[in-house]
Symmetry: C2
Subunit: 159 residues, 2 copies
DNA sequence: ATAGATGTTAGAGTATACTCGAAGTCAAGA
DNA sequence: TCTTGACTTCGAGTATACTCTAACATCTAT
């Protein structure tokens, strides 16, 4: 006798709503889930590993269609180990790039937080414009260069 | 005589399409952009700073509605410096949380890449199950614990 | 046996962020 | 003057990922 988990049980345990689980099934992500004679989904203990993998891929920013492609490879077993490895390697690179991007944004947001505090002290959002050039904080100069590059369309020099 | 930039010029320089710029305007993000008598948008040199801020907030994951709220504060000038500071501080915390989340995902994806390579060597995605417990790599044991926690619905213990 | 909880499907609705098409306006050069 | 090209608005269309409703089926406990 095998224990099965109902869709609402899985929903409660995983935090994925039953609606979303059905949607994932409809989109071809849950091909591994068995059904009862009457058509009800029967989740097993083992199904939680692919379910967890789905959440990891989703939280990594992978779109549903690509997760579906991965799950289709999963269903084919050992023949697709290499393909699945390649997909994870690609996702690894994507994650590193996403982290880099957010870290770059964090630097700018950190600067902005500092700048707003300086501006608040003086109650003037453009206080530095009234200062002699040598008294302007280098952080402000650097930021203004970034904005200038943005205006010059420097993003074209990427490739 | 002041130089103005047309919408297509701004689009070419910033990489934001003219369609998107008009959409942002419609959503209330570009309240700072002047118009000609005939209604054409006249972007100035100074407009590139708020435009850049919009891209930073967007790349930081801020939804358009919230960027609109920020830009409305921007239009009000010095009276809203503190409010804008608070919004950036919040965005700073959000970014740190997003980075943490992606770093957590990266750890798991790194593990998966390693595991798929081990499985590929043996052409068996479940090779470790046939091993005596003491020969199973601790990384596998650790991962299986995470999946088990997921099955137990451990996310409920967050708060 | 029947009520109520839980499950099923198909399909509609929501939210977000664009992306585009149509019809019309306007300024500048041949 | 006229044509061309860039601009305008409005509204429709697209893509993604849910989220929910309706109608019906099934299972369980009294």
């Amino acid at each position: 006798m095998k224990k099965y988990y109902s869709i609402s049980d899985v929903a409660a345990r995983t935090g994925i709503s039953a609606y979303t689980l059905r949607y994932y099934d409809k989109e071809g992500l849950l091909g591994f889930v068995k059904r009862s004679e009457s058509g009800k989904r029967l989740f097993t203990k083992e199904d939680f590993e692919p379910l967890y993998t789905i959440t990891v891929l989703k939280r990594s920013g992978m779109p549903i269609r690509k997760i579906r492609d991965f799950m289709n490879l999963y269903l084919l077993g050992n023949e697709t180990i290499h393909n699945r490895y390649v997909m994870f390697e690609e996702q690894r690179r994507s994650l590193i790039q996403q982290i880099r991007e957010l870290e770059e944004m964090l630097k700018i947001v950190d600067y902005k937080c500092w700048y707003f505090q300086e501006a608040e002290k003086r109650n003037d959002i453009n206080y530095y414009k009234k200062l002699p050039a040598e008294e302007v904080d280098p952080r402000i100069v650097e930021f203004n260069k970034i904005v200038e590059d943005f205006r010059e369309g420097s993003s074209e020099t990427e490739l």
